[in-house]
C-alpha cells in the first residue's frame, strides 16, 4: 500500500502510545508544517498556540474525555509534547484568521449512495479530501479497536483522533469545510466531534454527538448507514441544517445548500467558487449508478466521478493552483470509496487521476465488539387483526 497503515488497540492511553510510536515521523512532519502555516494563515506563532492549547482541555473533558488520555499517549509515543498534539487536533480552528487571505478550507467533495440506487445493491460513501499539498505525507490510515466501542477505520492527519471514515456498526462519516465564521471563538474542535460520531453504535448516537456539540467552525457532516439511510448535516455554532438523498444519491461540497445561517444571511458568498460546480459534476456521474450491474462497475463509476477535471486545477480531483501562495497550495490528498455493505474500504493516496484505489487489508466488520442495543431482545413482527 502507498498509504501508511496504523493499527492500534486497547485502553485510551495504551492505544494512544501505539499510535504515537507508529506515526512518529508523520507527526513530526505535521508539526513542522503547521508550526509555519499557522503563522502565515492566522498570524499565530507556534509558541502562542502551545501556550493556549490547554484551553481546549475542559471542553474535551466534558465531551469526549477518553480523547485526552489518548492524546497523552500519542504525545508519549511520538516523543512530542501533549500541547503539540492538542494543536494538531485543533488545526481547522487554528487555520483561519488572517484578514488578507481566503479562509482556509478543507475543500472536499463527499458522496453517499443508497443500496436501492446502486447497481450492485450496496451502500457506498466516501469523498475526495482536498487539503494542503504539504500534508500529503502526514496522512495515515488508522484502525482503532477500543473496548466497548465500535472498531473504526479512518483517514487522518497523523496525531489527530478523528476525521473521516467508517465503523464496525455500519456507520460512515464524511466531512467538508463550510467556510463561514460566526459565534463561538473557543469551541469543540472538529476531530473530537468526528471521533464521537465514529464511536457511535447507531444513527441516534451519531446525531446526538452532532447536536450536542458546541463547536466554533461550520462543517458539513455526511452520515451514512449500511441499512440504507443517509442524512447530511450542515453544522454551525448555532443552528444545523440537514438534507436527504435525491434518487438515492447525496453529494455535498463546501457551500450551504439547505439553509443559510441567519448570522450570515445578509452577506453570505461561497468562498470556494469551485464548490458550486464540483457538486454538480459528481451528481451528474453518480446519476448513472443504477446502470451498473457489478461492484467493479460501481467502483469504476465512483472513481470516474472523483477524478473529474472540469475547472482544472480547481476541480473535483483537485490539483495545486500555481496562482495561489505557497501556504495555500491544495490538492486531493486522499480519495475514498467505502462499501458499507461488504465492509471494504478503498483508498487512493493522492489524486485519484494518478493513483489507484487500493483495498485496505482491514474489513470494517472484522470486529469483536457488539452493540449494547444488540443485547436488548427484539420481538416479533406486527400483526393486524381487524
Amino acid at each position: 500500500m502507498r498509504i501508511s497503515l496504523i493499527e492500534i488497540a486497547g485502553p485510551p492511553r495504551e492505544r494512544g502510545r501505539q499510535y504515537g510510536e507508529q506515526a512518529r515521523e508523520h507527526i513530526a512532519r505535521s508539526i513542522a508544517w503547521y508550526s509555519e502555516q499557522f503563522t502565515a494563515t492566522a498570524s499565530l506563532q507556534w509558541d502562542v498556540v502551545l501556550e493556549n492549547a490547554r484551553r481546549w482541555e475542559p471542553l474535551v473533558e466534558a465531551y469526549l474525555p477518553d480523547a485526552l488520555e489518548e492524546m497523552q499517549g500519542i504525545a508519549e509515543g511520538a516523543g512530542v509534547t501533549y500541547e503539540e498534539i492538542l494543536a494538531l487536533n485543533g488545526r481547522g480552528e487554528l487555520s483561519s484568521g488572517n484578514p488578507f487571505l481566503d479562509e482556509a478550507n478543507d475543500e472536499c467533495s463527499s458522496y453517499s449512495i443508497l443500496p436501492e440506487a446502486a447497481g450492485d445493491g450496496h451502500a457506498y460513501c466516501g469523498q475526495n479530501w482536498d487539503w494542503r499539498s504539504a500534508i500529503l505525507d502526514t496522512v495515515v490510515m488508522l484502525r482503532i479497536e477500543q473496548p466497548e466501542l465500535p472498531t473504526i477505520v479512518m483517514q487522518v492527519e497523523a496525531g489527530q483522533v478523528g476525521r473521516q471514515g467508517a465503523n464496525s456498526a455500519g456507520l460512515g462519516l464524511n466531512a467538508n469545510g463550510l467556510s463561514a465564521r460566526f459565534g463561538a471563538r473557543l469551541g469543540m474542535p472538529q476531530p473530537y466531534i468526528r471521533r464521537k460520531i465514529l464511536n457511535s453504535w447507531d444513527m441516534n448516537e451519531a446525531l446526538e454527538a452532532v447536536f450536542k456539540s458546541k463547536q466554533s467552525l461550520c462543517t458539513n457532516l455526511l452520515l451514512s448507514h449500511r441499512d440504507g439511510f443517509i442524512v447530511d448535516l450542515e453544522t454551525t455554532p448555532g443552528r444545523h441544517g440537514w438534507g436527504y438523498p435525491k434518487d438515492g444519491v447525496l453529494v455535498h461540497t463546501n457551500h450551504f445548500r439547505y439553509f443559510v445561517p441567519k448570522q450570515i444571511e445578509e452577506t453570505y458568498r461561497v468562498t470556494s467558487p469551485d464548490s458550486l460546480y464540483r457538486a454538480e459534476r459528481i451528481e451528474r456521474v453518480l446519476a448513472r449508478v443504477g446502470e451498473t450491474t457489478t461492484s467493479e462497475q460501481m467502483h469504476a463509476l465512483i472513481g470516474e466521478a472523483l477524478s473529474d477535471h472540469f475547472g482544472y486545477p480547481n476541480s473535483v480531483c483537485n490539483h495545486p493552483d500555481p496562482n495561489h501562495p505557497w501556504f495555500d497550495q491544495n490538492e486531493t490528498v486522499a480519495s475514498s470509496i467505502v462499501d458499507l455493505t461488504t465492509g471494504e474500504y478503498w483508498i487512493a493516496h493522492g489524486n485519484p487521476c494518478e493513483n489507484e484505489y487500493e483495498l485496505l487489508p482491514w474489513n470494517l466488520y472484522d470486529s469483536s465488539s457488539t452493540s449494547p442495543a444488540a443485547r436488548i431482545p427484539l420481538r416479533s413482527a406486527p400483526s393486524i387483526r381487524a
Binding site: V210, V231, W242, P372, A381, P382, R385, A386
Partner: protein, 361 residues
Amino acid sequence: MLPLVEIDSPEARERGRQYGELARAQIAVSVEFYKREFELKSGLTWEEVRRRAPQWVPVIEAFHPEALEEVRGISEGSGFAFEEILALNGRGELRTGDPFDVDGCTSFALTAEASGDGHVYCGQTWDWRVGTKESIVMLHVKQEPKPTIVMQVEAGQVGRHGANSTGLGLNANGLEAPFGFGLGVPAPYIRRRILDSNTIYDALHVVMEAKQALCSNLLFTHRDGYCVDLETTPARHGMMEPTNGMLVHANAFLAHVPEQIEQSYRPSSFDSLFRVPRVEGHLRRARAAGSTTETRAVIASALSDHFAYPNSVCTHPDPRDGGRWETIASSIVDLTTGEYLIAPGNPCEHGYEALPWNLYS
C-alpha cells in the same frame, strides 16, 4: 386492548362524570406519575401545582367553556380534585422546565393516491415516558349535536389525538422551542376543540385563533382526501402540504424555523431526522399494495420500524439513558371506512386491533 371508555350525554358535566367514574383507576395512575414528574422537571410540588392550576380557568373558560365543565365532571366522577384534573390537562405546559424532553411521536397521513386500496389513512406512534402506559384509555365521546369523537388520551385529559364522525383525523407531535408567552391555552383543549369541529374550516380556524404557550405539530387529515400539517407555535404557524399524497412528521421543525429561534435551533429530538424518512420510505410502498389488508400491513411495518433501535420509530426503552421512553400506543385510522386500529404499546409486540367502535356509526 386498551381500556375502552364510552361517555354519552349532551351535557358536558354529565359526560365528565361518566368519564371520571369509568377511568378512575387510570386517572390515579396518571396523578401518581405526574406528581413525581412535575417536581422533577419544573421543580413544582403537587401542592404548588394544585394551588396555581386555577389560573388556567379564565383562559379555558374563554376558549372552550364546555371542556372546562367536562373537567369539573371528571373531578366529581373520579373523586380527584378539580385542580388535579386541570393539571393533567396541562401536563405538557407543566413539564417545560426540561426543553430536552418533548413528546416523541411519528405521525402520518396517506390520501387515496398514495394508498393501494384508495382509502384515506392517518395515525401515529405515541412515544412517551415509561410509566404512562397504564394511564391511557380509548375514549368514545358522544356529545350531540357535536361530532362523535374517538381518541387516545391519558385518562383525565379532554383531548389528545384521534378522529371524529365528520371524517376528520388529528395527530399530534411535540415540538420543543423555548419561546412564547406565559399562560396560554393548554394543548388538550385546543385538540378537543379541533375534534369537536363539524368542518375542516372550523378545525383549522381553532388553530389560527388559539393563544398557546407551547409549540406543537398538528396533522389534519380528512376522509375526502385532504391533509395538511401545521407546525404551531405561540406566534407564527408553519405549514406543510403532502408530497405524492403523503405527509409524515415527527418532532423537529420541517416546514419552517420560527424566527425567535432561527439563530440557534437544533432539535433535541434529533432522532426525528431519521424517523421521518424511515416512515416515508415504508409508506411509499403503500401505493403498490393490492388490498386493504396489504395497505395496512405496509403502514404497520412503517410504524414498527427498528432502524437505530431502540431509539427507533417503534421506540423501546434504552438502558443507556435509564430506559425512560417507549411507544405507549400506536394508531392506524381508516378514515374511509371509519375503522380505528390500535396497538396498545409497541406495534412490533402487540400488533393492531380494530376498536369495537366505527367512527361513522
